[in-house]
Amino acid sequence: MSTVDDARALAPAEPFSDGPGQAHAARLGMWVFLASEVLLFAALFTLFAASRTQHPAAFHEGVAHAKKVLGSINTAVLLVSSTLVALAVQVLRRGRTRVAGLLVAGTVVLGGVFLAIKITEYVEHFGEGIQPGGRGAFFQEHATRGLAEFWTLYFGMTGLHAVHVVVGMTLLSIALLGILTGRITAPSAHRLEVFAIYWHLVDLVWLFLWPLFYLA
């Protein structure tokens, strides 16, 4: 076996022979994965719908008690962050790497802001004696049937969403690193794009959680 052979054998098998093909595959892969993610949340939304039908009064009571202002600020934060990352992809395609880097950094920071507000909310609720599973002093005073379920769902669903925010921030940080080190440039903008698509999903899920837990 020649040394050339050896070198090639050790290299990872690159299945694609051209860039556009690879970009197409990456995008398709992300969309298929998002379909999967949507069904992950769908299970919880189903549970929410079923519980709400069963205890409409308790769910009204729960929504009335939610931190409307903080929740709405968070919606704005996420929407702006989603816009920033969408712009970043456009800008990167035109080759303006530095601006793209800044925009991505902005997205990650806004993600952090979202989490900070979310944690503030959690802490305040804990302070009021609201804990998942119907534990805490709050439920001694408010015994409405189904209220515990509302707050458990609140923590479960927003918590799972927060996990997705963290994952999205991690992915975008990786992309940011790639932009800074010059591994992600205009021709390989799809790498940023797939992470941006993911971030849009995170945003979109929140757009459903917001009315359910804060407005309805």
Binding site: D5, A13, P15, G21, G29, V32, S36, A50, A58, A148
Partner: protein, 559 residues
């Protein structure tokens, strides 16, 4: 660009020396260190890794099955306590369903063959593919660890409220299953994207080998159903570990809602398990009958039909759980529809044999076993979907027998057929045909003797998951237990001669079966990048009307 270079570097290589049997290293030979296997991104090696892991899980699950059967030799305690028995049947179910059946054919043979069958060098995301293997290993490890921490005793369905309060290591095992689900999703995404983006331009959707269709349909189910299961399992973990109280009637939840969510995944999961097996059967039948599939489109579309209608039938697991009459009727009718798709496939396979040139070899023998067992299992499935009959059969051994006919008689038999069909492709060696036939006969006989009596037990009203049972059922239980030994012996013999063939088997040559399928148009075992040069795809994957290059010509060609 006009041609898609399959392996451009290799193609440019100077032609090998004069001797025609000089062998450039196959994927097995390029690097033989352990490390090269563990960090490989070659889909073929990942397929082999999965195969080894899956075989271990099959052995473990099978061991539990044998122990369970042994326990039922007598109506009272035979060798274990009720608590041990409960944990053992749960582990048998969890291991067989999630650690063996669901990943079985897609992750091992799908990984190995799907890219080759569409003329690709690898899957679309090779590193994700490797990650999927390690995620599987991590999840499986958690499940196995739970065995040492009091295991789980809920049955593989984890119904609350029981699962909310069981004091066993349920969270550990369920997190394991949850993680294995990630592996399933990764593999599914990978296969879908690979099929879409890496197909050789000369292979259209209707020219793909049917195995690709079945794996593609399976992947769709995997991607769409697994997350629902994952979420539901997390909720069960939250209930058990933190008493969050979902589905808890005392706090206003509904246990039946859990069953809806669980079966929304777990019924399609049945098709995840059987569809790839159906793909294997399509390949085996055509290869050994040297015949085009009776209706290619019917087989391909029925795979998609099963994938979609399979999502709408979950309610038939709950006819006696207290669902409304309308729901029961609707789910019953939809279940009938999905059975039609499976039956279409069965007729197609049978009629593919007509006017073929059939040679009975081990894989085909397994497929014959499959045909018998699957038709029986499938038809009894329609029988249990018949609402009034299900009332009697639900949660009895009839159901146990039915799904073992599908899972073991169908999927495991197809898995064995796949092993024997593609053993020469994967290893380049031939196994002993005589021992192959013998063990196929053992497996079939053992299986039938094990599970046929269970239909009768179910008719008699023997509920499943019973540690003690009324003594009148003992005779049938003994027969079933004896059958399980024969089945086990058949599998051990298989393992024996396959290991022997792996080391000392005769050289198989590139295409020992004379198959037209695309994975055979490269040496066996295949080179690292599957094809040294773009394969000749002139002849279709099922075209047996013309001879393959190098095949002995017939004196009088069929017209």
């Amino acid at each position: 660009m006009t041609t898609l270079p399959i392996a451009p570097d290799v193609a440019r290589e100077p032609a090998p020396s004069s001797s025609p049997i000089v062998r450039a290293p196959s994927y097995l030979g390029v690097d033989t260190t352990l490390r090269s296997w563990l960090v490989t991104t070659d889909h073929k090696r990942i397929g082999v890794l999965f195969f080894v892991a899956l075989a271990c899980m099959l052995a473990l699950g099978g061991f539990f099955a044998l122990a369970l059967r042994l326990e039922h030799l007598t109506p009272e305690r035979t060798l274990m306590s009720a608590h041990t028995y409960n944990r053992m049947f749960t582990l048998h179910g969890v291991i067989m369903v999630w650690l063996f059946m669901i990943p079985s054919i897609p992750s091992s043979f799908g990984n190995f063959l799907l890219p080759m069958m569409i003329g690709a060098r690898d899957v679309a995301f090779p590193r994700l593919n490797l990650a999927s293997f390690y995620v599987y290993v991590a999840g499986a490890t958690l499940v196995l660890l739970s065995m040492f921490a009091s295991a789980i005793d809920t049955g593989w369905t984890f119904y609350p409220p029981y699962s909310s309060s069981t004091p066993t290591a349920l969270p550990l095992a369920l997190l394991g299953v949850f993680i294995v689900g990630f592996s399933t999703i990764m593999t599914g995404v990978n296969f879908i994207v690979t099929t879409h983006t890496l197909r050789d331009r000369r292979i259209g959707w209707m020219q793909m080998p049917l195995f690709v269709w079945s794996v593609y349909a399976t992947s769709i189910i995997q991607v769409l159903a697994t997350p629902v299961l994952g979420m539901v399992l997390l909720l069960v973990v939250a209930n058990n570990a933190f008493s969050w109280g979902f589905f808890d009637p005392a706090r206003g939840g509904d246990p039946v809602l859990y069953q809806h969510l669980f079966w929304f995944y777990s019924h399609p999961a049945v098709y995840i398990m059987i569809l790839p097996g159906m793909g294997v059967v399509s390949e085996v039948v055509s290869t050994f009958a040297r015949k085009n599939p009776y209706s290619y489109k019917a087989i391909a579309y029925s795979s998609l039909g099963i994938a979609f209608v399979g999502f709408l039938t979950w309610g038939h697991h709950m006819f006696v759980a207290g669902m409304s009459r309308f729901d029961a009727g609707a789910f019953g009718l939809l279940s009938m529809l999905v059975a039609v798709f499976s039956a279409i496939k069965v007729f197609n396979w049978t009629w593919t044999l007509k006017r073929g040139a059939i040679r009975m070899r081990t894989p085909l023998l397994y497929v014959f076993a499959f045909l018998f067992l699957f038709v029986f299992g499938g038809m009894t499935g329609v029988a249990v979907a018949t609402t009034s009959l299900d009332v009697h059969w639900h949660d009895t051994y009839f159901v146990v027998a039915h799904f073992h006919f599908i899972m073991v008689g169908g999927t495991l038999t197809a898995f064995l057929a796949a092993i024997h069909l593609w053993f020469p492709k994967v290893t380049g060696k031939l196994y002993s045909e005589r021992l192959g036939m013998l063990s196929a006969a053992l497996v079939f006989a053992g299986f039938f003797v094990t599970f046929f009596p269970q239909f009768l037990l179910g008719n008699g009203g023997m509920p499943r998951r019973y540690f003690d049972y009324p003594p009148r059922f003992q005779a049938l239980h003994v027969v079933s237990t004896v059958g399980s030994w024969v089945l086990g012996a058949g599998l051990v013999v298989t393992l024996g001669y396959l290991l022997h063939a792996l080391f000392w088997g005769a050289d198989a040559g590139a295409n020992p079966w004379g198959s037209r399928s695309f994975e055979w148009r490269t040496p066996s075992p295949p080179p690292k990048h599957n094809f040294r040069e773009p394969p000749d795809l002139e002849l279709g994957a099922y075209d047996y009307t013309r001879p393959l290059e190098g095949e002995p010509r017939e004196p009088e060609a069929a017209s």
